[in-house]
Symmetry: C2
Subunit: 478 residues, 2 copies
Amino acid sequence: MAGAPQLDGFFKQVDTLSDHFIERLRKAVAIPSISADVARRPDVFRMGHWLADELKALGVQVELRQLGKQPDHPHLDLPPVVLGRYGSDKNKRTILVYGHYDVQPAEKADGWATEPFDLTVDSQGRMFGRGSTDDKGPVLGWLNAIEAHQKAGVDFPVNLLMCFEGMEEYGSEGLDELIEDEAKKWFADADAVCISDNYWLGTEKPCLTYGLRGCNYYSVEVSGPGADLHSGVFGGTAQEPMTDLVRVLATLVDTNGVIQIPGIKEQVAPVTPEEETLYDGISFTMDNIHESLGSKTTIFEDKKSTLMARWRYPSLSIHGIEGAFSQPGAKTVIPAKVIGKFSIRTVPDMDIEKTNELVFNYVKEQFAKLGSKNTLKVDVLHTGKWWVSSPKHWNFSAAAKAVERVFGVQPDFTREGGSIPVTLTFEQATGKNVLLLPMGSSTDGAHSINEKLDKRNYIEGIKLLGAYLHHVAVEPTS
Amino acid sequence: MAGAPQLDGFFKQVDTLSDHFIERLRKAVAIPSISADVARRPDVFRMGHWLADELKALGVQVELRQLGKQPDHPHLDLPPVVLGRYGSDKNKRTILVYGHYDVQPAEKADGWATEPFDLTVDSQGRMFGRGSTDDKGPVLGWLNAIEAHQKAGVDFPVNLLMCFEGMEEYGSEGLDELIEDEAKKWFADADAVCISDNYWLGTEKPCLTYGLRGCNYYSVEVSGPGADLHSGVFGGTAQEPMTDLVRVLATLVDTNGVIQIPGIKEQVAPVTPEEETLYDGISFTMDNIHESLGSKTTIFEDKKSTLMARWRYPSLSIHGIEGAFSQPGAKTVIPAKVIGKFSIRTVPDMDIEKTNELVFNYVKEQFAKLGSKNTLKVDVLHTGKWWVSSPKHWNFSAAAKAVERVFGVQPDFTREGGSIPVTLTFEQATGKNVLLLPMGSSTDGAHSINEKLDKRNYIEGIKLLGAYLHHVAVEPTS
């Protein structure tokens, strides 16, 4: 294999085609493929078929995989997974990429400054539109990279396998089974996996992401009376489920985020001397988090503690209570059954089952202390394991070289506090290294109003994806 | 004044007219006068005018008082208060009665066994229909009593003043001002007040109610971040308002209803030896409360403690949290601003302002202990004072004699845990004794599906209202 790939022709072609690529994104954003909205399901299908047609026009071999009906809407068809293959040269590496063509809900009335499904570019090059950064921009990045190679007459450096789903924003229904099913079929040749569906840590410097926290989501139900009661009639005579629930929830975590459940922190992998040195170099400041938080109510005052808390320590958040009065105003109800919801973000080497057991026992103990006649049920609603990959794998070193080539800086190697469950699914099903290679920046507002992708991130991001494929094609096996 | 009034003619006439009286209730129930539903406002007006027409047909002098626009819907007219006067004989006592002609919302789809606005009488004599017991049955009770006197040729024993409103189920908007305004005008002659808008303690024995608890309703807001956050990204790095709020709410009251706020119980009037003896005779059992509670999760195991807790001790209930996740399912949100709602039922001799001050200080102290950077606001959303009248007043002793006459038993003298704010308003505005004289029973389900009034309670209740007027006309001043 040779030295540094020759990329100038490809880069120049991306610049030449930049308006065309923005038009392609405009067409994609214009299809309101909201997977959470039953009424928009035809648009999700339309988006899947549009994407398949675009791929076919580029010479990609495409198959649509049907996933059956949606479990919570038994008459509703799930949108297809679009599988693609571009090239089948036995002498080239094969890279499997994943993305999703569905989007979060959006309506102008939610507070958007522009029409959410009409891509609007402002004077600063910000391209506003639902799905621009999450995840239509990155998905089209792969298509654009193919097209730029074709028009520049540059040989495509790898065989590219594609897996684009249409239900990511609604639980990726059916995807795990498909990935496992295709692991030895459509995905059988994959040498490595690349997912572009997360974000830079800040706005200036690209990053490569090698770790994610997991999430165990719990419910604590306290019930007693047969129906909701009037607090005038029953206040003082009935043991109130809401009182008990609040007292149990108050024992879970303190204001500084310290989890009070014994046995949780004991499972956390110790910080190695190598890891100790890793945080200082990361392009991240307390100003960054204060800005994204919209306040200075952080637990820590320094960068290192903050990044460690986000990436490598567990956290516990109380999300809310189902069954209690939750509207504005005043209602004198004693709720008969209330369900508290909280979750724990998990990290290496926490075990899902062991953590569940610790939580269940602790919650039951705290409730027992109350001496209440009410009934407690504690349950886990869903779990997803943490994921940590090796950033020294050739898949990552190739991506790092691509970042240096396109942006002139060494990327940050980052982890994330949230979970992207498909990452672990791909790793386990294929047995290959998975790289998270984000295109958008921390200010894109993926699930918020005024979602955007900066023109720079899109166009340079196309170059990055292409450069990554060139480097990964020749990177020595590590 | 003479001895026991002669009532047989009146009673017999009520029995004779019972089908006619049920038809009158059927017509009233058929008008869906839901005050909380803007779309039903024309029906509330229609109900007010129907009631005025019925009164006029009986020879009652009627005036409609307009209350202007509804504060939270500035283009919506409030329904009129129907003022009535029947008789103006200077030699008779004048009794002011209050009721309301609006009803709670109801739709068959809520789970009603019958059409809620179609009065349906079953084989046990239960008359199902929205408003049957709350409060159209009792309001029509006064009209029926007048008609039965006319048809029986029995002289009406008092001058009757009537005040029937159409917004009771939506905060009695505008009523307090009207009562104060009319205190020295339409209501100027009143010697005593009678309100029939509550319920027997059980199902067999009538009661006279001489006390109500008050209610102070509080909000505790904790805020920090500029917007809702993703718990994956911010869990462990931000101080979470929900954690702080739950910890503050957990300090308010324990599972056995003991209020933890210092200075509350110190304000409660001590139990007198006379009061000690009062509870044993009340027709009430623990089975009654277990049945209405739908469970055995009571704080106390004995009747006396239970009644005292409901009637004469304060209680604190946590109603819910606004701004947190309250839907079914799982959402990994860190809410940016959460508002806990709780209320304290107040009793003699608690002072509203003093109680507010104790609550505000305690909540602030508890929050300060957390050492949080988040922001706390504690506020009172509404207050209503407790009310206790003298059950030895001639207004009560007359009513007790009427109960004995109609039902053959001595009534229980009861208090209630809830509040009926208009009671105190009438007492303060007129300076006269107020009696609560219920018609319905504890199983009527006033605000629930399948609201009903038993035929016995309605027909014997009409006799009771008439008998009360005869007794109150001749009862010696106490």
